[in-house]
């Protein structure tokens, strides 16, 4: 009886993470379990709190923006600082900043807005130690939405900059 209840609970939680709206939830769940595995795996030397924070920060590669706003959100500042330090510490590492916009407004303006957003993050990474030559910027405007649809739930997921390893 207990086992079947447990199975039922597992099923329902799987169903929930399959919902389109809870994509970010499943990402955070994935990253926390991932950090647990890696800290358990390093038996010789335990990772410091700072190193765990850095690892978690580097797992966040998508940064969302408010409508018609090109500046990244203040809560992403620390995470981006870790990305900048990681690039500074690994001079051979190359990344691509892919800027995106939601579909409202014209396509050419959105192409420019996507670049403006990516450039904001580019400048922050450089100020915090990354080298310009490590980073390529490309804007896709509204051409590659993360989620289709005409609701704010889709729009908010499409206004984003993704850090992609090259």
């Amino acid at each position: 009886m207990v086992i079947s209840l447990f199975a039922f609970a597992a099923c329902s939680s799987t169903g929930e993470t399959d919902d389109a709206g809870s994509g970010s939830q499943s990402t955070s769940a994935g990253s926390s379990s991932g950090s647990a595995t890696s800290s358990a795996g390093s038996s010789s030397g335990r990772l410091s709190q700072e190193e765990i924070r850095a690892q978690n920060a580097l797992r966040q590669t998508v940064f969302y923006f408010d409508f018609d706003i090109a500046e990244f959100k203040s809560e992403d500042r620390d995470t981006l600082t870790f990305h900048a330090r990681d690039l500074a510490a690994n001079p051979n590492k190359r990344v691509r900043l892919e800027g995106h916009a939601d579909e409202r407004g014209t396509r050419e303006y959105n192409l420019a807005l996507g670049e403006r957003r990516a450039n904001g993050i580019l400048n922050y990474l450089i100020v915090n130690g990354a080298s310009r030559s490590q980073i390529e910027v490309v804007s896709y405007g509204e051409e590659r939405p993360a989620q289709s649809g005409q609701a704010e739930s889709a729009y908010s997921r499409n206004r984003r900059v993704e850090i992609v390893a090259r």
């Binding site: 409202r104 407004g105 396509r107 050419e108 192409l111 420019a112 804007s139 896709y140 051409e143 590659r144």
Partner: protein, 434 residues
């Protein structure tokens, strides 16, 4: 009767598009002109692949100014002048009458379409000729007849033999496929000109309709290409850092206006296609984009968010970057400006206020400052004007998908070209081909 060779556009061997577009009339005029198009007789063997008289009826009804009489209500079915009794058409309150017949040209595979067009009230023959072509050109012949009828009745040159470019994106096996397609103005006979797993944007026609320009991300970066329609030959025009977008041919066909952000922020540039010389037009740290040429090619209209929100500006090519004229004021966002052939009215995308989330197609008279909003949907963009200035095609959303709509310059008539699959967008209406 005039024997006239049809000028037909040679098409390179390209793939027929999977999903054809077909027209729905969504809004017509209150008092359309009554016209009777009698089914054309076919005096050859077998069945023709195209119904020429139906093509003419569809053309005339799509632009909204005509209403065709159903053949079932006709009192007689003449195919040439000596079979026409005007009384039969006057009692049915018809203003115009088109009759015709199709025969096999002697000793060849070609067909001859003879048509005659009458003013019922004046009992006058207004036009009549024989058009010769292959069976596969019957659609072109039908559109050619529509052009003659439309011009005789309205005084405006018909645009029924023009074409459109547009972009389609479609999910195929979990991946997005992007296609640049070309079709007749009514969406028929669609052909794929380019297919890619990376985005394709901003298609535009050269002034003679023989070449196109567009943006392709095929190298993983947005770069401008031109392509000859007949040969399919492509040329990469730009490889500057950052954004390369929005190519638009100058009226003389020798230069491309474009948007480059190689110097920091997006600015308008003009590249000479022969010498490759690049001229910077705008120089501002804000976003400058969406160039379009004035009729004489001396000035460029563009969008800039230098005041915080997108507005439309104009400046002479080669003038000081301080010498900019602002054209729009009374909108939250005004974008994608392009002058109509009259050089006074400018079509654009308009969002009235910050609170009103709708983007609609509107026309601003830059002399009287009068604004007419033509559409009532909410995500309208990419307006493109027919070469006779009578209609504007644009992209909008219907049932969650991108579709192409067209609206008459006065906003009275609308028709839609729905596609059976994928998102359709960025229509570019061709110039006249001859």
């Amino acid at each position: 009767m005039i024997n006239r060779a049809l000028v037909l556009i040679l098409l390179c061997a390209s793939f027929s598009a999977k999903a054809e577009l077909s027209i729905q009339i969504t809004q017509g005029v209150d008092n359309p002109i009554p016209i009777s198009v009698v089914p054309f007789a076919w005096e050859g063997a077998g069945v023709l692949s195209e119904n020429v008289s139906q093509i003419v009826i569809d053309d005339l009804q799509q632009v909204g100014e005509f209403r065709a009489l159903s053949p079932g209500n006709m009192l007689s079915l003449p195919n040439e002048e000596n079979e026409v009794f005007f009384r039969d058409w006057r009692v049915l309150a018809q203003d115009y009458l088109l009759v015709g017949k199709i025969t096999r040209a002697t000793g060849s595979q070609l067909v001859q379409v003879q048509y005659e067009f009458f003013d019922v009230n004046r009992e006058l023959k207004l036009a009549g000729e024989v058009l010769t072509g292959s069976v596969t050109q019957l659609r072109d012949i039908g559109h050619e007849i529509s052009n003659v009828v439309f011009e005789l009745v309205t005084g405006t040159r018909g645009a029924f033999t023009t074409q459109i470019l547009y972009i389609v994106s479609e999910e195929v096996g979990g991946q997005t496929v992007f296609r640049l397609e070309k079709a007749d103005y009514d969406g028929q006979r669609a052909q794929v000109l380019l297919e890619s797993n990376e985005p394709i944007m901003s298609p535009s026609w050269s002034p003679n309709g023989q070449d196109i320009a567009y943006v392709s991300f095929e190298t993983s970066l947005p770069r401008i290409y031109t392509q000859n329609i007949a040969t399919g030959q492509r040329r990469q025009i730009t490889n500057y850092p950052n954004i390369n977008s929005s190519p638009v041919w100058s009226p003389d066909g020798n230069r491309l206006a474009m948007v480059l952000s190689k110097d920091g922020s997006p600015d308008i540039y003009v590249q000479d296609l022969l010498s490759n010389e690049l001229i910077r037009v705008t120089d501002h740290p804000a976003i400058d984009t969406e160039p379009s040429w004035s009729r004489d090619g001396s000035a460029i209209v563009f969008m800039s968010d230098r005041t915080g929100q997108p507005q439309i500006y104009q400046m002479e090519v080669g003038a000081s970057s301080f010498n900019v004229e602002r054209l729009t004021y009374d909108c939250f966002q005004c974008m994608k400006g392009q002058f109509l052939p009259d050089g006074v009215n400018m079509v654009h995308v308009r969002r009235e206020t910050r609170q009103d989330p709708n983007y609609q197609i509107a026309i601003l008279n830059v002399e009287t400052l009068r604004v007419i909003t033509l559409t009532d949907t909410s995500l309208d963009e990419s307006p493109s004007v027919a070469p006779n200035g009578s209609m504007i095609m644009y992209a909008t959303k219907f049932a969650g998908r991108g579709v192409l709509d067209a609206v008459s310059i006065d906003g009275r008539v609308k028709f839609r070209l729905p596609s059976s699959q994928g998102d359709v967008r960025e229509p570019a209406w061709s110039p006249f081909f001859n």
